[in-house]
Amino acid sequence: MKLGALIRKEFFRFFHDPRLIVTMLLPGLLIFILYSVLGSIVSSDGEEDATYSFRAYLSGESQTVAAVEAAIAAGGSTVEWLPADDLEAAKREVKEGNVAALVVFSDGFDAAERPSVEIYYDLQNDESAAFAMLAGAVLQEIGARFTVERVSVRADAELGAQIMSQILPLLMAVLVFSACMSVTLEAVAGEKERGTLSTILVTSVRRSHIALAKVVALSCIASIGAASSFLGVALSMPRLMNVSMDVFGEYSAASYLLLFPLIVSTVPLIVSLISIVSAYSRSLKEASAYTSVLMIVVMVVSLVSGFISVGDWVTAIPLLNAVAVMQTILTGALPVWQALVSVGVNLLFTALAVWIISAMLSSERIMFGK
């Protein structure tokens, strides 16, 4: 009953204050606006000033090749054509980055009535993208008679998944952390500073209940903020990265079923970590300073985990496990056991943290020290 009243108090405080609700939902909205704007700038910024010595496969014949060569030379670059016997092998080489592109003219291009030209290139490779841009533009300019098609050698979804798996976990870590930070600092360090926490400590309510109520209620609230930010990212990411929304359809329902508890399990852990820092600090200001340090640590950890290949041992490390397993899931795999173990480990550490918080609430040195 006391626990319930404590939890309800936190919810009441939050949901009856429009200011708090707005600050919780705003980041998601801002991210969406910012990234969408950023995305449209990035995609219009395609001109390449760099010069290249292109090597490209050529299949079929056309007089327009000379125009392409001239345009490339005008830009200060050169092109060496290689005969393409095996189209599939040529596409593979484009994908591997050995050649810039594969240009395929349809049979009897110069004489046919509705001929077409296809340029196979790799969006992720600057040189390849520059070649496709240049050659495509020239051909489009001369040819009202024929169609020009630029074809990426990578499937969109594959490309999207790669980007998602690299960026999303880090982004999630930062977003979840900020959501937790904004509620927890206020509700723990703020309450301690204002003296409203002591008023509760004077009553006969158990310290463990105070700690548990804070972590439960704040985690729920922070999850709302994190979900809003996540939606903001998810909706704007494809536009920013120039990949289609289909990316999200590529992940199976099972991936989402794994991702969800994984992300959710980090929220109470982060909330309780910030609570520990807040309970220790003498003021809100001090708590914010310590929490920023904690945030940097979390960011570095998530960033690093993107570059090192991690073994199963990583599931034993709270927070890092969520980032690493999330990366794995986003590349299309389904690491069920790692995900479950990670969730368990995170919850275990949360329980430990709650215990620490209640010990801190009982400590006269921390609560009433000078």
Binding site: M1, K9, K370
Partner: protein, 262 residues
Amino acid sequence: MEVKAEEIVRAEGLCKSFPLSAKLRRIEHTSKTRQIAVDGLDFSAYRGEIYGLLGPNGAGKTTTLRMLSTLIRPDAGDAFVCGHSVVREPGRVRDKIGFMTGELKLESFFTPDYLFDFFGAMHGVEKAVLARRKRELFSRFGIDRFAGVKVKNLSTGMTQKVSLVVSIVHDPDVVIFDEPTNGLDVLTAKVVTDFLAELRAMGKSVILSTHIFSLVEKLCDRVGIIIDGRMIADAPLGEFTREKSLETAFFDLYHAVKGEEL
């Protein structure tokens, strides 16, 4: 001769010292690593009376009251509130006392109505009992008209009344009040002193600490004079004021203990 009433709080050899951090040592110009705040304090307070702990700043009043309210643990000694030990049964003690200081604040976002119910729940007061107490106390102290107004929109005096009423939501036998009028303007201070007198009229026992002579003279039935963590004198107010003013009596005792230094 006064008739001795039932003993409700008894302190037996209470001791408390604090570690002094390097920073505190510098501020206080001392090389000691521990500061003795309370040094073997004995006293008794009686039901239905207001007991005043009178002493200068740093005498150990706050530390004593915090030990009585179980916020901090004595290094040695014990105190009993309604027969419960603050060391062994802190939970029982907390249900018997209401503790007030200027440092304890109410979340100003909430209304008196909400806060009363919330703290009632914290003390485990039954719903029906709580509703009845709320009606009684709110009308007795004139809060009822403001029950639905957020505390931040209330006057200082009304806010103070709400704090006071909330601290006795669970109908405690003993109210402990550290420096009741410190930092309050005259009107708000009067709200507080009236409240304390009202509590006594309701049959409650009060233990307060102060360094203000007039407050003790006006309110207290019994006075304990505390200097450097020790109880120098402990008697009914009348015994201090029979021949001289309380102030004179206090300084006579003070000089007897500390010499002429001030």
